[in-house]
């Protein structure tokens, strides 16, 4: 399982794996009142040319002087030259990242972890289910898939948020809605005013928790992969619902997140049972998750 490559290499040549690459913020988008997307461009041309990632991978983003935080790369690998990350303001580092402006420097280490098995998805129907900020890792894959649209069969996106204002990627969701080659269903847990209700219903928005709406739209499991991401509680009930809809567990894919510091299996905190999310994840099938200790999630 482990590669002991260090025994053969000259130790003095070892690279500093904790050294981030420097990136410049080239645009900022406020998704909700506390969630923001940064678009980042490599400062160094060589690093830019050498950089490659796959949808589902993540990185450690740093505001120097404040520390590092882990987010997925939310832009598509098919969009070259930049990466995006979407994060909610929750603590010291995310607050510091929010305080940065266009042109400021951010550190990035990555990409780390495994990725969505995009090759296995080719020729299949795809059902994307994203709750809240969980839409971020899905967006990387959705955009990637849409850039190669002809290689996939029917595409359905079910996305939900607590309220209308809590949706991230509002512009992009409108864009997806306008496409004829995919079906988009959006839902909110609750509406806040009659005016909002009128507008929401007019745009074909639904009201209800994601597992319930999933049951309503009753997608066929035939030749279909479901790709799910959201808060832990949403994932739990959505996986149960998919099981009822006869999705086999190896065709249900999700991506997990835990607290991480290193990103490469050394700092010791992101494991669920024997599995390090940073190294052996973050993308898992429901079948793989079933074998992990449920009380460690």
């Amino acid at each position: 399982m482990c590669s002991m490559n260090s025994t053969s290499t000259d130790k003095t040549e070892l690279k500093n794996i904790y050294r981030p690459m420097l990136m410049k913020i080239i645009s900022i988008a406020d998704e909700t009142k506390d969630t923001r997307t940064l678009r980042l461009e490599f400062s160094d041309q060589k690093e830019k040319d050498a950089f490659n990632f796959k949808a589902g991978q993540f990185g450690l983003y740093s505001a120097f002087g404040h520390g590092e935080a882990v987010f997925c790369i939310s832009s598509s690998p098919s969009k070259k030259g930049y990466i995006e990350c979407t994060f909610k303001k929750v603590g010291k580092v995310t607050v510091a990242l929010r305080n940065l402006d266009i042109g400021d420097t951010v550190g990035f280490r990555g990409p780390y972890g495994n990725n969505f098995p995009i090759d296995n998805l080719k020729g299949k129907n795809l059902l994307f289910i994203g709750g809240g900020i969980g839409l971020a890792p899905l967006r990387s894959l959705i955009d990637n898939v849409l850039d190669l649209r002809s290689e996939f069969s029917n595409i359905t996106i079910l996305c939900g948020a607590r309220s209308v204002s809590d949706f991230i990627y509002k512009g992009q969701i409108r864009e997806w809605e306008s496409r004829s080659d995919l079906k988009l269903v959006k839902t909110v847990d609750a509406l806040t005013s009659p005016a909002e209700e009128t507008e929401w219903k007019a745009s074909n928005g639904r009201v209800g928790l994601i597992p319930k709406i999933l049951a309503d739209i009753n997608p066929s499991a035939n030749n279909t992969y479901a790709i799910v991401c959201g808060p832990p509680i949403m994932i739990k009930f959505t996986l149960q619902e998919l099981e009822k809809l006869n999705f086999s567990r190896d065709k249900v894919i999700t991506t997990l997140e835990n607290r991480m510091k290193c990103g490469f299996g050394k700092c010791g905190r992101c494991n669920i049972g024997p599995i390090y999310i940073c190294k052996e994840g973050p993308v898992f099938t429901a079948e793989e998750l079933k074998n992990l200790p449920q009380s460690d999630f």
Binding site: M1, K15, I17, Y18, R19, F64, V90, D101
Partner: protein, 378 residues
């Protein structure tokens, strides 16, 4: 590899030659602070021996309070340096680990095995240059144990009080401590012996202080058998991994660890606990990104920014510590992440004892198996 012997009276000369060969020497010393008749508690720690005058402070055959892992993996170390420039730009620089050729003297066979376990982790696909470079520049000389402590259990994890895995050189006091058998374990160890033989000091000139040691091997083997026999804690940990595999949600592990208070003492004194935190330290314009020891016992260790904590109760954190050491690590790297040094047993303020936890789990499992068998017979 070769065996040598060294008369116990020549040990100081040995240390002198290490220093005169321009090597950094780290060895156990007693560290009591005295200021104006006030003293702190005595501790035995690995410290650098900077000058010849400090050699007499070395306690060559002792048990240290902290392990020697910090020689390779310090409590706190900078990994990059950053400087904020005008206009939101930032400059970063690598921080090179200090790389003077070092001799670590006086670690125990258990400690040395711990280094080899940590090396597996720190070279797991991503090579941690800080650990690996330091390990590469250090010659580890371990001291075999002739009187293990009550809390020691190295034989439980497949070691012996005189095993040499992870050491470059192993010293064993034989013939009632009159001389040491010196077993050279690695080429790095052999190189040190050559260097020392060639070193010039004020009192000796290029004269070997070592003689052939093969005649002592037999003495050591007899002694090793005796010392193993004396050890009180002998339960074999080999099958605990398989037992724990099925015990994740077992209530016994919870009751065994119920008294844990969630401090990090066990992790900090442990020669193999490797969890760390990464934080930025410094002024607004300039500072360092630090890699600091951390502990899975701490409540905040796994707490998400959003508030969810997968290990929200202390017993879950304890369970993680035991599972990681005794089961997960074994699955990934073939060995358990415990070397039986007993430091956590000695240091735990509520006397939580990994040996007795394993012992009790094994007993319970054996009884359960027996019960099942009895039931099958009915």
């Amino acid at each position: 590899m070769k065996n040598y012997q060294l008369a116990a009276k020549d040990l100081e000369t040995f240390f002198e030659r290490i220093l005169s060969s321009n090597l950094k020497l780290v060895a156990p010393v007693s560290t009591t602070q005295h200021i104006a008749n006030l003293k702190s508690k005595t501790q035995i720690l690995f410290k650098e021996i900077p000058t010849k005058e400090d050699i007499k402070k070395i306690i060559s055959d002792t048990y240290t309070d902290m392990s020697a892992k910090e020689v390779f993996f310090p409590q706190s170390e900078p990994v990059i340096e950053y400087t904020h420039k005008k206009g939101g730009a930032v400059d970063i620089k690598d921080v090179e680990p200090t790389l003077k050729e070092t001799v670590l003297f006086g670690s125990r066979p258990c400690d040395a095995f711990g280094f080899s376990l940590l090396e597996k982790l720190f070279s797991w696909d991503y090579d941690d240059p800080f650990f690996l470079k330091r390990r590469d520049k250090t010659t580890v000389i371990s001291m075999g144990c002739t009187s293990p402590l009550e809390s020691c259990f190295c034989t439980s994890v497949g070691l012996s009080p005189m095993s040499n895995i992870g050491s470059d050189i192993l010293f064993t006091p034989v013939d009632n401590g009159e001389r040491y058998l010196i077993e050279v374990v690695t080429p790095r160890g052999e190189k040190l012996i050559e260097t020392i033989n060639g070193a010039v000091t004020s009192t000796t000139t290029r004269q070997s202080i070592f003689t052939d040691g093969n005649t002592l091997v037999q003495n050591k083997n007899i002694l090793e058998g005796k010392v193993k026999e004396q050890m009180k804690r002998k339960e074999d940990f080999k099958d605990i991994s398989d037992i724990l595999k099925d015990k994740f949600d077992d209530s016994q592990l919870e009751s065994e660890t119920y008294r844990c208070l969630g401090c990090g003492v066990c992790s900090m004194v442990c020669p193999t606990c490797h969890c760390f935190d990464i934080v930025d330290e410094g002024e607004s314009s300039h500072g360092y990104r630090m890699k600091n020891w951390d502990s899975c016992s701490f409540a905040l260790f796994t707490k998400h920014g959003g508030g969810h904590n997968p290990r929200d109760l202390q017993f879950k954190r304890c369970r993680q510590r035991y599972m990681h050491k005794l089961h997960y690590y074994r699955e990934k790297f073939a060995d358990a992440l415990c070397v039986g040094c007993g430091r956590c047993v000695r240091a735990c303020p509520v006397n939580l004892d990994i040996y007795s936890v394993v012992y009790n789990l094994k007993k319970a499992y054996a009884n359960k198996k027996k019960d099942n068998k009895d039931n099958d017979n009915v």
